[in-house]
């Protein structure tokens, strides 16, 4: 029931959003809202409207924080994860969800991403990955494929791209997953799983940017770009059963890494409890 969802979890007064026609970001924002709705209505979890904090950085992705009707903080470029770290340390009972983009979290904020992954503080990071700097008009980002065009790569991108989910997993994230806009139902389930995960969890969600990335690279309209996702981003169970020759050029979506590492704020609480126990003696 999308309309109910809008009325319940979005700030109607601040819609319509600023995203271009065909942008995938609205779908990801909806996935986040659906996942939160399911968790809030699940009596087995402690999620409620007031203990959820949405943190974002700067860029197209990060405007989502202002549209979602929770405690929300739209911070500086690249620093959302660092602000979120302080929020979680100050009050570990809060569920802290970071909405960020490929440039925000893997270029200017790359250092914070890898250290948060290593530290394993319980944050959920949702990356709206559109392969481009959209807000500034289409410059290449750390996820723009080699050879693709952008306003700052008029002759084709010479950089090699990051795979953000694998980057997080490599940095020690206890939960790293990939999703996309076409597979909204599967992606919502993965986002929900990330929110329930104890420890640092990242979901790299492939968005579509027909306005800048798509147009520069002759990828067609939004529908064409979604069809590309349908044909090339394959849910893990099916991906694993594919013959190797069919896997070429395709990527799996789903949970890529999941580990039960100690969660940082819980470990810190043990330290506090040790002193509190000493004080009582």
């Amino acid at each position: 029931m999308p309309s109910d969802l809008i009325h319940q979890y979005m700030r109607i007064d601040h819609l319509p959003h600023i995203w271009c026609p065909g942008c995938g970001n609205g779908v990801i924002m909806r996935d986040v809202a659906v996942a939160l709705d399911e968790l809030i209505n699940d009596p087995d979890t402690d999620f409620d409207r007031d203990n959820i904090v949405i943190v974002s950085g700067i860029g197209c992705s990060s405007r989502a924080a202002g549209y979602l009707d929770f405690n929300s903080i739209h911070t500086t470029h690249g620093r959302a994860i660092a602000f979120a770290t302080g929020i979680k340390m100050a009050n570990p009972k809060l569920h802290v969800v970071v909405l960020t983009g490929d440039g925000d979290c893997s270029a200017i904020g790359g250092n914070h991403l890898i250290h948060a992954a290593r530290r394993n503080l319980g944050l959920t990071v949702i990356c709206f990955n559109n392969d481009i700097y959209g807000m500034t008009g289409g410059q290449y980002s750390p996820t723009t494929p080699t050879g693709d065009k952008a306003t700052t790569a008029p002759y084709g991108n010479l950089d090699r791209p990051f795979d953000i989910a694998l980057l997080a997993a490599g940095a020690g994230a206890s939960f790293a997953a990939r999703g996309d806009v076409y597979h909204a139902r599967e992606t919502t389930a993965v986002i929900k799983q990330a929110m329930l995960h104890k420890g640092f969890a990242l979901v790299d969600v492939y968005s579509v940017c027909p306005t800048y990335y798509g147009r520069k690279n002759k990828k067609g309209d939004a529908v064409e770009m979604l069809k590309w996702q349908r044909d090339n981003l394959i849910p893990l169970p099916r991906f694993n059963m594919m013959p190797p020759e069919e896997m070429a050029g395709k990527k799996a979506i789903g949970v890529l890494a999941e580990n039960d590492f100690p969660e940082y704020s819980e470990e810190y609480q043990k330290l506090i409890d040790r002193f509190a126990a000493k004080g009582r003696k």
């Binding site: 601040h14 903080i73 739209h74 500086t76 660092a82 602000f83 770290t85």
Partner: protein
């Protein structure tokens, strides 16, 4: 009577901050401030607080602002190079009105400079380091005991005016050890947030009633959902392109400090009653200036010391009040002439302003101040 303890300025900063209610410290090691992080990591878990060593200074201040938005008093500490890295988020704190304390234990620059040597070269950085017009409150202690009491005031002002407060120390005070008698906790005045918004205007989070300057702050997770942003925003906390709303916001941010300067500003005046020459100084430089004033007085010269404790906003009114009696001003500071500009502006040509500065990492001595006074024919 409380017991006397031998303490370093950097340690006093932590003890004072904890007394003020600081329960989150996020920082990154840098000489000569590192003892503040070390002492925080030792003390905070003992009082139920959290210490976190971040990956750099940018994330340190970001985490501090996040912690404060979640309702906990928070602080970071650094030195010049790290203070430069913090500037963008310092402006965010001013714009989004998130209280916090940023300690800068100044060392000799520019760049990596002389990391273990004293300087006061961040005075102007404290005022103008971040971009755009923004309010700044900066306090500078000159002793270990004052570090303890003044950092409590830094937290209080930060909470009262909802703005980051810069605690501008220097290597002299940070690493100086003195015997101090800390005040008993019950004698301290600590500002606490009232966790509710001002009434009226649908309880908008940045609503400020007529005649007031500061919106009330309710931390995240206490039942009111609202938005914080560094974009120009309306009283509801939402981004706006309305130039009138944006102009009104920035004007209020500046006015809350400018119009309340009397409440914010503190100065120390020593032997100023009949002084004809004022040695103006701040922070660790005051130790030498005080000695120089005593030596000059012993020789019968009418010299006093004027020390801004609140260094931003500059105590213009307080210095102006002394101008009619003064024949000379000597500005002594460990830089190439930064507070000098404020003093010259305030003197407005009515009193000549001489300057004694150092940029070589050595300390200004009482003898050097005396020699300068002689050169000025005081």
């Amino acid at each position: 009577m409380s017991k006397a303890v031998l303490m370093q300025g950097n340690e006093a900063a932590v003890e004072g901050a904890i007394a003020a209610g600081m329960r989150v410290f996020a920082g990154y090691p840098i000489t000569p401030s590192t003892e503040i992080a070390e002492q925080s990591s030792l003390r905070l878990p003992q009082v139920g607080g959290h210490f976190i060593q971040m990956e750099d200074e940018i994330s340190s201040i970001a985490a501090v602002l996040g912690a404060s938005a979640a309702g906990v008093k928070a602080m970071t500490a650094t030195s010049g190079p790290g203070f430069s890295l913090m500037q963008e988020n310092l402006g965010y704190g001013a714009m989004a009105e998130i209280p916090c304390v940023i300690v800068d234990v100044q060392r000799a620059g520019p760049s990596t400079g002389l990391p273990t040597s004293p300087a006061q070269g961040d005075y102007m950085q404290a005022r103008w380091g971040t971009h755009g017009d923004h309010p700044v409150i900066a306090l500078s202690p000159s002793s270990v005991l004052e570090t303890y009491t003044l950092i409590i005031r830094a937290f209080n002002l930060s909470e009262k005016y909802r703005t980051p407060v810069i605690f501008l120390m220097d290597e002299i005070v940070g690493h100086m050890r003195e015997g101090v008698e800390l005040p008993r906790p019950e004698t301290l005045r600590i500002n606490r947030r009232k966790p509710s918004f001002h009434d009226g205007a649908n309880k908008q989070c940045y609503f400020v009633p007529e005649g007031m300057y500061v919106p009330a702050m309710k931390p995240f997770g206490r039942g009111e959902r609202y938005n914080i942003t560094g974009l120009a925003h309306d009283e509801g906390g939402f981004p706006t392109n309305n130039t009138q709303v944006a102009g009104k916001l920035v004007s209020r941010l500046l006015a809350k400090v400018e119009d309340n300067a009397d409440d914010i500003i503190r100065v120390e005046e020593y032997a100023m009653d009949d002084a004809e020459t004022a040695v103006v100084c701040f922070g660790g430089t005051a130790r030498a200036a005080m000695e120089a004033v005593l030596l000059a007085r012993a020789e019968g010269r009418k010299v006093g010391m004027f020390r801004p404790i609140t260094v931003w906003p500059f105590p213009e009114k307080q210095l102006k009040a002394r101008l009619p009696q003064l024949k000379n001003i000597l500005m002594a500071e460990h830089n190439h002439g930064q507070m000098l500009l404020e003093v010259q502006r305030t003197a407005g040509g009515s009193v000549p302003v001489a300057f004694l500065g150092k940029v070589d990492g050595t300390v200004i001595t009482p003898a050097e101040i005396l020699a300068k006074l002689q050169e000025m024919e005081v």
